[in-house]
């Protein structure tokens, strides 16, 4: 991993950009090659989910579900009863809100080993608009007992996470996205569910983030570094179970925290962070998240900017919370 503070702009511009969904597609092919219990289902979005390689390699183990997501979730739960490991694929919106009761009863409550793989999450789905830009999915999924919730930041992390998801025994909600974003993790770094990834070490403020906002958080940390503020940056790719130890270690040193996520504030990563800190280490916090609004059509970059999820918003939140901390200690 490069030193994101020291790296020059040309180095950042030179990073390879790929979509996280393609990392899932490659990961699915790899786990399918390694384990013939892996089966995949898709609700008429095989190309969008990058599941074609798996489908072509293992036609018997790929089940087209058509535009019928509720049935797809149920079929996946049924497949587990024969010892198989099903991965369902559709957009995040149709993976959660549309099928909440099916996931609740047939998967989570029944303890079924189903992997709910959800692409096109959040605002960065872009031009299709708010009907498809789900920003509530993490909240719905993390509320379900037995459910593990993962949201990855780049191609390699998503590919590696697919291996971890396959190996994990239990239901998983696995969230990733559509746009091409810089690859910032190492290809050979194993993904460990529930263990946060330290992106950079700092002392003034803890910045907890995941998904596409890891990149924006890196850009924010560079700006802050130029102003003499050092950021302790955690990639909290697993929202549930949250890595309490990593969070508490960091805020024990920085004594203030900003959470940044492509999701509603209600129900999101920041809320999980706040719950942990309220119980174990009350800490001033600022939230970079969507504030009780639906999205709209636009480019991913435009939407992140408009809804307050860009690097500037993260910089502002960090400065603000550092100010709160300093006020408390006067």
């Amino acid at each position: 991993m490069i030193d994101f503070i020291q790296a020059d702009q040309a180095t950042l511009d030179g990073l390879t950009r790929k979509d996280t969904r393609s990392g899932f597609g490659q990961g699915l092919l790899e786990v399918g090659q390694a384990d013939d219990r892996i089966v995949a289902l898709c609700a008429d979005l095989t190309g969008s989910l990058k599941m074609n390689a798996f489908k072509d390699a293992f036609p018997e183990r790929f089940k087209q579900a058509g535009i019928a997501e509720a049935n797809m979730i149920g079929v996946a739960a049924g497949l587990t009863i024969g010892g198989l490991i099903p991965f369902t694929g559709t957009f995040a919106n149709f993976s959660t809100g549309r099928v909440y009761d099916q996931i609740r009863q047939s998967v989570a409550y029944s303890g079924k080993n189903v992997k709910i793989c959800a692409s096109h999450c959040g605002l960065t789905l872009g031009e299709d608009g708010a009907t498809h830009q789900i920003l509530e999915d993490v909240g719905m999924m993390k509320m379900l007992p037995n459910m593990t919730v993962i949201h990855t930041c780049d191609y390699e992390q998503t590919r590696n996470a697919t291996h971890a998801v396959a190996a994990h025994d239990g239901p998983v909600y696995f969230r990733f996205g559509r746009p091409k974003v810089p690859i910032i993790t190492d290809a050979d770094t194993p993904f460990i569910i529930g263990k946060a990834r330290k992106v950079m070490t700092g002392s003034d403020v803890t910045l907890v983030t995941n998904g596409h906002l890891v990149w924006n958080s890196i850009l924010a940390a560079r700006q802050l570094a130029a102003e003499g503020i050092s950021v302790d940056l955690l990639d909290m790719h697993t929202i549930k179970p949250l890595d309490n130890a990593a969070l508490l270690e960091s805020v024990g040193r920085t004594r203030c925290v900003v959470s940044a996520e492509e999701h509603q504030r209600n129900g999101g990563l920041g809320e999980s962070v706040a719950a942990c800190l309220a119980a174990h280490h009350p800490t001033p916090q600022r939230f970079v998240a969507v504030e009780d609004q639906f999205g709209e059509s636009g480019t991913p970059a435009q939407l992140l900017e408009k809804y307050g999820l860009g690097p500037e918003a993260i910089v502002m939140a960090c400065k603000e919370v550092i100010g709160v901390k300093q006020g408390l200690t006067v």
Partner: protein, 282 residues
């Protein structure tokens, strides 16, 4: 409808005693549909399925599987599972009580042998059965997957998603039954939300469709044989099974009013007086 004096009918009578006693004991539960599906479930578990209750496992490798989609008729399923040896019949006394494995609706969380998925929120079991049947095929197992659904449950959209899926994928090791009693909570199915011509609907969805009398053991026997004869030929099989809600207890028969109501002490006595079997109560 001459089921008297056979071992199977005697067992059915005992299961009906269990049902009314369980629902009375919990002061809640669903006796109507349970009584109506007693003959089917006893026949299924005691004469039709290849199962190994003493060595129950979640994956059911090498066994036929059954999924109860209309989970509210849990009393009949629990009774049949206990009588078939999945667990002690004495445990039936815990139905719907705190710390019981016999939840109000079937669940896996407490580890009750015989239950492979939670049901109760309607419309989900056909999808489960489809997946389990496809797993049998992928695992190279020549075994059947059975499922049961309420007729009112067919109003759920997911049922018809699953109906399309099963036909499209040629899931021909799946044999589903509908408890066709014509009743649901708010009244007659025809009045609440008519289902129209069910045989034509399932046929149009690509299923092989049969009908039977769910209280005539000879009719049930023929239906199972016909269903397995029709299976394995590229189509899933649907058996539309005519039943009477509340069957076996005269004041509960043929009405939706006993869908989800427990009998009081006098009603229990009246019901048990109509149900005499040579088995012992739990």
């Amino acid at each position: 409808m001459t089921n008297q004096s056979t071992p199977l009918s005697d067992l059915c009578t005992q299961v009906r005693r269990d049902i009314v006693r369980m629902v009375h004991g919990a002061s809640s539960g669903h006796p109507g549909g349970s009584l109506g599906c007693t003959d089917f479930l006893v026949k299924l578990y005691f004469e039709e399925m290849r199962i190994d209750p003493e060595n129950w496992s979640m994956d059911g490798k090498g066994e036929d599987l059954f999924f109860l989609s209309n989970g509210h008729i849990s009393p009949v399923w629990y009774s049949v599972l206990a009588r078939r040896g999945y667990f002690e019949v004495s445990e039936l006394a815990t139905f719907r009580k705190l710390h019981s494995r016999l939840q109000g609706h079937p669940a896996t969380e407490e580890g009750l042998p015989g239950i492979r998925v939670a049901s109760g929120s309607l419309g989900q079991g056909l999808s489960i059965a489809c997946g389990a049947a496809q797993a049998k095929k992928l695992n190279g197992e020549d075994r059947w997957v059975y499922s049961l659904h309420g007729d009112g449950e067919l109003q759920e959209g997911q049922i018809w998603e699953a109906a399309l899926y099963a036909a499209h994928h040629g899931i021909d090791n799946l044999i589903s039954f509908v408890d066709w009693n014509g009743q649901q909570i708010d009244g007659a199915v025809e009045d609440v939300m008519t289902l129209g011509d069910l045989e034509a609907k399932w046929t149009a969805f690509g299923w092989h469709v049969l009908q039977c009398d769910g209280h005539d053991h000879a009719s049930l026997d023929a239906a199972f044989k016909s269903a397995r004869g029709a299976a394995g030929k590229g189509k899933p099989v649907m058996v539309l099974m005519r039943t009477d809600m509340g069957k076996g207890v005269d004041f509960m028969e043929g009405t939706h009013k006993w869908h989800g109501v427990a009998p009081d002490d006098d009603q229990l006595s009246s019901a048990l007086a109509q149900l005499t079997s040579s088995y012992a109560d739990y």
